[in-house]
């Protein structure tokens, strides 16, 4: 399970601890804005050694920690 590592990445990008549930929206919580999302996608590629194709650049895929973990695990 990658939730903890993903949560650490988000905290580093947001500059504050991730204090929401894994199924809550990172956007609605204010942890990620449009520009931080671009950083997160790059970090996911670097940290997990995956390539996120343009066809997957859909913000809804990265809305919650659970969705991100599911996506990453499918591509590792």
């Amino acid at each position: 399970m990658q939730q903890n590592k993903i949560s650490d990445l988000i905290a580093a990008i947001a500059g504050k601890p991730v204090d929401i549930g894994a199924d809550e929206s990172l956007f609605e919580s204010g942890l990620l804005d449009s520009f931080a999302l671009t950083d997160l996608v790059s970090k996911l590629e670097q940290e997990f050694g995956i390539r996120i194709p343009d066809g997957d650049l859909n913000p809804r895929k990265f809305e919650t920690i659970d969705k991100i973990a599911e996506y990453v695990e499918a591509r590792i």
Partner: protein, 307 residues
């Protein structure tokens, strides 16, 4: 390949500050600045149109280029905010400039439309002679249409930019380009016949921050030019934060990217050539123009300045 010979611009007189926009949109003034880097934008007067602003910018471009209207072989007008379905503004510009010999062609494309028009001009100029490329937008009447979208409405302004592409010589030679289209983004940024502009900002920024650096990198690798050797990057002025993000992706200092978005906001198709008209130069060495917009459509253009 032909040259870009000279630039022109037209900006409406009315300056709209963030104070006024914040009041109109019921948001915090500081939020507009923080999210966009925009301080002011221009709104066109009731009597101004896409065509009238386009013609004003075109006249200035002809003047700075030393080209007469009766020498033009083609007029290209990119706009996402033309006031009617047809005819588009290009034919009006032909009349306003008194250039009856010139073909007139519209590109109903905002934002990246001008970059695509420049490529069209480079292809047409060898056979048609000088080409007048114009990007012009009158978006302000649509911004405040209901339902209000403050995050989108705060971004935009009106204006026009222009340049002459000439097969005989000029400031900078057009060397190469890299263009892209991804129709899966068609619903993410759109303007129906009745406004307002609808934008999924997260999606647009996510794709722009990836696709524009990729296009620039592909172009520069093909031309064996290091990104650090580029004299200036002239971008579609969409959002100051996005420009900074693209600079970061390329590993380039943000100072290499000319920006005037704080003054005019996002003038869509007009912004690239307004920026080029205002960049103080010199037009020497390799120069990159780049843009991203609705569609999605995007690209980069490499010039070699010869002044």
């Amino acid at each position: 390949m032909p040259w870009i010979r000279g630039f022109g611009k037209h900006l409406p007189e009315r300056i709209v500050t963030n104070t006024e926009m914040a009041r109109l949109l019921s948001v915090e003034e500081a939020w507009i600045t923080q999210m966009s880097g925009i301080a002011t934008r221009r709104f066109a007067a009731a009597g101004e149109s896409v065509a009238s602003m386009a013609a004003a910018a075109g006249r200035e471009a002809l003047l700075t280029s030393g080209v007469e209207a009766n020498e033009l072989g083609l007029i290209l007008v990119a706009s996402g905010s033309a006031e009617r379905r047809f005819p588009g503004p290009a034919v009006e510009v032909q009349q306003l400039l008194a250039a009856p010999q010139a073909l007139a062609l519209d590109l109903p494309m905002p934002s990246a439309g001008t970059l695509f028009a420049l490529v069209q001009a480079a292809l047409w100029a060898p056979s048609r002679g000088p080409v007048l490329v114009i990007g012009a937008e009158k978006i302000s009447p649509l911004l405040l249409a209901e339902p209000l979208e403050p995050g989108t409405a705060m971004l935009f302004g009106d204006g026009a930019g222009a340049c002459v592409v000439d097969p005989r010589g000029g400031l900078a030679r057009i060397l190469d380009w890299e263009l892209g289209t991804d129709g899966t983004g068609a619903g993410e940024l759109k303007l129906e016949l009745q406004g307002p502009i609808r934008m999924n900002g997260r999606s647009v920024i996510l794709h722009a921050a990836r696709k524009v650096p990729a296009a620039i990198t592909t172009l520069l690798e093909r031309q064996r030019r290091p990104a650090t050797d580029i004299a200036v990057y002239l971008m579609h002025q969409a959002n100051a934060n996005l420009i900074a993000k693209i600079a970061q992706s390329l590993g380039i200092a943000p100072e290499s990217f000319f920006s005037n978005i704080s003054l005019y906001g996002n003038t869509s198709a007009a912004s690239l050539l307004i920026a080029a008209a205002e960049w103080p130069g010199p037009w020497r060495g390799p120069i990159v123009m780049a843009a991203f917009g609705a569609g999605f459509q995007w690209g980069a253009l490499l010039l070699e300045g010869e002044c």
